[in-house]
Symmetry: C2
Amino acid sequence: MHPRRILIAQGGGPTAVINQSLAGVVLAARGVSDVDLVYGARNGVRGIVNEDFLDLGQETAANLELVANTPSSALGSTRDKPDLKYCKEIIQVLQAHQINHFFYIGGNDSSDTLRILSLEAEKLAFPLRCIHIPKTIDNDLVSNDHTPGFPSAARFVAQAFAGANLDNAALPGVYVGVVMGRHAGFLTAASALGRKFADDGPHLIYLPERVFVLENFLADVKQAYQRFGRCVIAVSEGIHDASGTPIASLLAKTVERDDHGNVQLSGNGALADLLCEEIKSKLNIKRVRGDTFGYLQRSFMGCVSDVDQREAREVGEKALQFAINDQRNGTVAIKRSGAYSINYAVNYELLDLDVVAGKTRVMEDELIAASGTDVTDAFRLYLQPLLGSGMPDGFRLRSPAVAKIRNVGG
Amino acid sequence: MHPRRILIAQGGGPTAVINQSLAGVVLAARGVSDVDLVYGARNGVRGIVNEDFLDLGQETAANLELVANTPSSALGSTRDKPDLKYCKEIIQVLQAHQINHFFYIGGNDSSDTLRILSLEAEKLAFPLRCIHIPKTIDNDLVSNDHTPGFPSAARFVAQAFAGANLDNAALPGVYVGVVMGRHAGFLTAASALGRKFADDGPHLIYLPERVFVLENFLADVKQAYQRFGRCVIAVSEGIHDASGTPIASLLAKTVERDDHGNVQLSGNGALADLLCEEIKSKLNIKRVRGDTFGYLQRSFMGCVSDVDQREAREVGEKALQFAINDQRNGTVAIKRSGAYSINYAVNYELLDLDVVAGKTRVMEDELIAASGTDVTDAFRLYLQPLLGSGMPDGFRLRSPAVAKIRNVGG
């Protein structure tokens, strides 16, 4: 057996815990005697074809721990989606550096890159171990209970809506918060965990798993506003009409697409502004405010789930263990022990790359309320343990009202 | 002396610590023997004319502590700006309930309400002690070192930019974050405290204290982008042209005004979207993203400065002490002991209401860099102690680059 020469890269959108997985691989590799070197590629696969490598063997353990606790991809990332030609270039560089292990931390696009790469390496009889380490705030990898990065982003969304609900209760009106998630509504649904009291918002939740009909939306808002005297609404950026066309892209003057052919949904406030305008003009409600959570929800420094941190570290460590103990490529998957419950534990499995590669998980029907505008208790039991310890909690005054004396105001 | 009958209300935009001040008054009043009752008005002055009072004497100390740690106004708030007629109605209700102390927690509009009210009470020989308790995330009260609520919002903005900078470093491009603050740029300037390394963003900061010229903005962005290969920009919602017209209102199809005659700047993403479009089209940069921090920055649950919490509690407690020990109306002001420094302590003074009422503090020239697009060290020394303990910190990999072997990529 040749000495192990390891390369690690990070792809796609950053998360709050993606560097935990990086540290997980690097630190675990230090305990393996036949590991010759550990490199990191700058900016994902782009850094491989550019031969832009860092020698991670020269990092101190202390600094790796500090970087692990720092959000966003420490190696840099990329939106490049390699085709076969790109993958051949990657392999040439890996061969030149005699790298025989490649760990790619990313979402389903990154796992698909590994799938193509592993097939090409096999064709060339190049002994390359390809291990995918999951991360995505969208939580849209199939065959995973959840993906690292999602719990921390979900915690941000829950805390944001808990606060926005209190703000909206103090100065009543309609509040629309637009949350990331192109096809999967998990992150938007996390807004429900910001609720505590029965009349807390979000009062309505719109997910990409259900067709968005503007007339129904306006009727829902009107009804909630009449009932609560206010209305807090969580909307996924990926809501779409019956044809599948995103509502956001119906509005955009120019449609921007990324290298994966996806329409750019984040990075502007157009969807929130449109929905607010509709509510103002059609329902004649004056105080209507919209926020687009944008990049804050995936990169805010200082809102992280300790469960997410621990698991992101573990998937990195497990990736290295699988690479050494299993003689095959694959993707590390998080599996929950038992049903959705307040009792929580996970285990890790190595699945074949093509199980997750290029596939998209969306919210299962059991997690979405029959109304289509709320989540179920199953979802609450699913998400609650992931949010980690120390979730802030809100309380209300419980004073009785004072009897009126004049009773003429109004 | 009549027994003291106390009324407390909260006005204007909520903050993360406004309930600390409420608890500060209520709990301190419990130690005063001649306090007969403590009421809270629902929804600010609106609750007074509606006789919508809660008997805060029936709150437990434990629940008051929990509410103190909950963001947003627990009594509810209002944007009502009472005129003389409204103030006369208020006085009639106060007289009916024999209330002789009114504590109003709010910004400069709320202090102006108290000023009008105190003059009218004096005219009617109605013995009403009026004490203003400061709060505003805008930090725009004159004669105060800073105002409760601002430090926690500033902490949110600093943490948000620290994370957005890391996100932008991983996937380079231009990022525009729009921050609240109509006339005063303190909160936008807080973005500078998110920086750590010399090349960290925000690379440019636009404040309402300086005239915004689009051509200069584009030239600044171009230069920063060439230098850093990316650009993170903090923009105040209140930026305006040489005539004083907000850039945001130049764009809005319909201009919404609040009851104080102010144009509504928050609650939509129009300003960020406009600036992003200008950068994309004029500078030909593809990846340009804009976020409007919106209501998250003042109500996010779980981002608070412990210094802010402590001081917000103290201004409430001091308000009660001043009401008892000083025979006059006034506003509680926070004064720093000594110059801006890493050594930090404050003291509280009771100032006349007309010192702060209706006046607006903006950033002093010494806090703004000569370039007009950055802050000074004086500002950093001003703000740093306010952010509180446990600020998250970001770290970078320090690995050396690996020598290239093929050196053909690009």
